[in-house]
Symmetry: D2
């Protein structure tokens, strides 16, 4: 018997448009899904490139305006893979049209934006999710299982960092298609919304809510040529952002993100220290979960490098055989699969409401970066 279809309308064809399209393309080949995803249409202003993208990924048609996508009856889900500044408008319109909505992170440029987006999907009662993909790297999911099983005991510390080095060159322009992440009007913020948002999403998933934060933000390169205006203009984003946090469970948090850490490309790491055990993970060695278990025999204790590639590990039974790696893109495949299989039961997280909590923290970080005070984050 044929499965019910999930007809997808994609907005955007950039880096994230590719990861999402690949996710929906691969998911049914490796996972048993409740519905069959169909890449129905894509919307983008540059229709020439959109046509090429559609042809590559098998989208049935192309729209030059996302509003046309929302108007179509043959679309069930709007997936927003466009820059941050259009998330708000598109998501609300889609929800109001009764479409399910998936949105690339961060949900809003501000918590005010995402608050309205949450209200819209909840009012419409439509399924919704935000692409915080790192939850579904199998080693990260495994960490969640171990924590939920009570392996760690009382938590003392959580620390995370996301280090990159791609904007050190002073002549790198801001704005334009490839570099909109440097344009504060489009991106909303710099590394706080782009990188720390990932760290915060994972942190609150693993360790619960964050109460208060104090932050330090910096823009190392104060002016850059703007691709659109053609002029050298002040840089509005934060190049680096660090904050200290107090979690609701009494543990302490330390977070840092930067695009000025020479030698690191996408070094997202976290570590959580509990009374009985600690866990650590690193995106540059993504198949490994490090665990120190204090309940091991005294002289035999040590950090274990758990190679999360066995059939019993999260998601891995659906891929190859033990020892063989999957990569970054598969985390999106897992998310697509979980979203689809949560449609008729327990909704997969993070929902818009979950992601709004992250925006509350990033807002507090940006505010504290200016006030120098501890700020409420929830």
């Amino acid at each position: 018997m044929a499965k019910e279809k999930l007809r997808i309308g994609m907005v955007g064809y950039g880096f994230m448009g590719r990861t999402h399209s690949n996710a929906f393309s691969q998911a049914p080949k490796f996972f048993d899904l409740d519905r069959e995803p169909v890449l129905t249409a894509i919307a983008a202003r540059n229709t020439e490139r959109a046509e090429e993208f559609a042809s590559n990924w098998g989208y049935g048609s192309v729209e030059s305006d996302w509003r046309a996508l929302i108007d179509r009856d043959d679309i069930d889900l709007i997936d927003i893979a466009a820059p941050n500044n259009v998330h708000h408008e598109i998501a609300i319109a889609a929800a109001e049209a009764g479409k399910m909505v998936m949105c690339e992170k961060p949900l809003g440029r501000t918590a005010a934006e995402s608050s309205e987006m949450v209200a819209a999907v909840e009012k419409a009662g439509v399924s919704n999710m935000v692409w915080y993909n790192y939850r579904r790297i199998p080693a990260v999911t495994h960490a969640k299982h171990l924590i939920d099983a009570g392996k760690l005991g009382r938590i003392f510390h959580y620390r995370a960092q996301f280090l990159q080095d791609w904007t050190i060159a002073e002549d790198l322009p801001q704005g334009g298609e490839a570099l909109w992440r440097l344009d504060v009007d489009v991106a909303g913020s710099g590394v706080t919304g782009d990188l720390l948002a990932h760290c915060i999403d994972t942190a609150m998933w693993l360790n619960g809510g964050i109460d208060t934060v104090t932050a330090m933000t910096e823009t190392f390169v104060k002016e850059r040529p703007h691709n659109i205006t053609g002029k050298v203009e002040p840089v509005g984003i934060d190049d680096a952002s660090a904050f200290m946090a107090r979690f609701g469970n009494g543990s302490l948090g330390l977070f840092e993100a930067t695009r000025y850490a020479r030698g690191h490309k996408a070094l997202y790491t976290f570590e959580i220290n509990g009374e009985n055990a600690s866990l650590a993970w690193d995106l540059h060695d993504l198949t490994r979960l490090s665990m120190f278990d204090h309940s091991d025999e005294g002289t035999e204790r040590g950090w274990r490098s758990i190679h999360v590639t066995d059939g019993e590990h999260p998601y891995m039974g659906n891929w190859w055989v033990p020892g063989l790696h999957i990569g970054y893109a598969e985390s999106f495949v897992h998310q697509a699969a979980d979203f689809i299989n949560g449609l008729d039961g327990t909704a997969a997280a993070p929902t818009f409401a979950d992601a709004h909590q992250t925006d509350l923290v990033t807002d507090a970080v940006l505010k504290s970066g200016k006030t120098g005070q501890w700020e409420n984050a929830s």
Copy 2:
């Protein structure tokens, strides 16, 4: 303008059937191909499972006999993803029918088998390739480029190992669908053909031909229940195999493979030591290439961990952004792409003729394991 199609007939739907199907499915989405691969048909005796497989991967039809596949006019390429004992017959029949042939490794169970397969494809003049996929892990390909550029100077040492631990349990049966690798009649040999063949293929690609070898082979578990006969029967494969080698360039080789190295899943490693530089790689950390460059300033020398994820690194410009990993499966995607783009120009390696050289070495290893003598390997 529509591209010429490359219509594929797949034989087998097991682990390798999946990796090959995924390769042809993903290749056109990430690489600019000269022809468009089409998953036309699959042949397998178990048609129920074959139907399921065909549906999952989009094959247009199913045949219960690979001969029917070869007879079809709408098939350009026969891809053999079936167990080793049928490689010989299928490949020769396919070549004689004028089909291109791709074959999972090892090419033959013996060099005698592969010798006839080489003769068949060469007589027919059909394109051919063997799926030694590890050449196309980007870090391995990068190693090849550095060696070819003369970075290492005179070579002194090459060492490789492929360590697994999945057959330690004595009650694991031999034979049958999942475990044919333990049945010597089907597999031809144990770890020598399954694992060392990979090490040898890479070694000869990077460091040239092997002249002589002396080997040590062992079967730790002497009897196992047989899935097909239902009886406990002697185990005919080698559980472990190690050999020392002399390469044509005067360097020394040391190779080892086993399925009894507790703690290792698929630890394929190699290291090559040259006068001026050394390189090392490890499948469990596949995105990294380690390099020691003696020409670095004396007090600043050290093994570099090259994170092979930049756009300038082999194949990586077609995937995501720097720092984000691809996995095992992508090596097959690269091979599919290279095969297709080599059809109208320089044929991509390893061809059947190349893979036959590997079979000559594995034959010599197995022979030496019995004679205790140094044996010629070419």
Copy 3:
């Protein structure tokens, strides 16, 4: 010709008394010294244990009161290896008596204390030094050389942590001989003075002065039995302390220390990110310095693991042969050697004045931990 002697009077026989005694014992065997250190006398209240210690290390005599040591004419140098609460009084008395003074870190329990200590040694014009030993781990010294040579360019980030896990058990007592580090009256503070002080000393040596800080401190276990009073008493020290900093050179700092990071024994790490290169080091792998050099050929860039064991590396020509490790204790040997060889020329650092700067930072950290504000640190 016999060398001039440097007659040492040691105060304390604990962990630090051993490292200092070993340093003066080993230094002349491995380094060419301007003067010959002589372990002349040791002072401690527990004379029985002091006698045993003196016998073990070859001290000529024992005093029950450090004042007696200072009164002796046959002592040139007072080395303070006693708990923090007596540093101030002993150092000032020693200086006033015209003795050279070496003092275990931190110099004072507060910057107010150390300010007076600096004044005393400067007024007396006596040689002085504080045992921030980690500067003289060869890999750390090598980092200093590379930074001073301009290898890194403009600095963006400095981060350091010192993670331990030895006080997690709630029944661990505070105070008494072995555990005075948990008694705030004796120690002055918890991890801030004990661990962060090391991180700060290295940081300012490598990256210059710190202008301002904002901190988060926590005492996880609020009450502990007191070894001296025999009662359960409030814990006055900080169990964990983290702070963000702005350096004078415009770079950002992130520092953390704790004794509640399960799985880490003495994980002191630092990393510094510059425009052209980055460096990282780790006490648990102390012979290695990691360096990323952006000036390396693009596709060959990677973090280098410099094995700091060659004869050309700092201090290493005096030990064994390349590849063979020294350990923690040798950093004290180097410091003893440098102190002695700086007596007649350029004084070796860190002097009391240098260490006072560290106390200013730790004071600011502790203050900010209470106020929640950014505080001046110099």
Copy 4:
């Protein structure tokens, strides 16, 4: 009450003379010894340098001939730290004079030599030991304890390597004081006796006797200037040596040593794979023991990095505090302590008889390197 003295006569003042002298100097400061070692005298032909050495380490007197040392009544122990070619004569003379004998490894240049040395000490009934120091790196000793406790079960594999790169330069001379290891007359062999001997000693200690071997040896640089003759002469040593082995317990061994592995200084590694657990160690990270324990919960299994620095770990309770490293030299300190504390009870190993077994293996390796056959090794 004063302890009985152990009066030491040292032969040689080179690299090993330093490590042995340091061992006897440090041992009583860190270990509770049954006797008090006294550095009584040193013998060496170059008396000027010997005087300097004696002064540095506190030897009471100097002899220009080792025979004079043996003749002295105030010497209890002759410690041979001289080149390999004099081990045989000195050891036998010392034993015949009733002296205890310690000897740097390898015991003889050949098993024939060491056989006579064993006979001499056994006939004389004198305590004896060979300085295979790596047994007493705490992580290695810990491995021995875990194996003896039955942690690993049936053993399948043992592999070891000792990789260096210091003789790659073709203009490096052979012979003379610093480079006698390249002179076959003095050294007996190249890397087989110098490096593989270490690997073999540890291997047989951990995994029992070796029955048979087949080897491959090579001299990459065939001629070198000779420091003594002043002429370019053929090189008689093996630059590289690898062998495969069958242990008495049925496990397979793989060994390799070379001085032509660019990038490695003293990379001695071993790994042992058992049915239930595996262990691995590496001299370049000497404080760690890696263990994979298959009895761990399935999804939580992983290689543990045991940081062998706790008070409960072998020898470590006598040094500093958890997390702080000792180095290479301390392994000699441990051996000196164990030798002394075994004098009146169970003799510490390896004795001359134990070390002779290693010489039997190295002889078989060198022989097989020529014959190309499997050779008996015991």
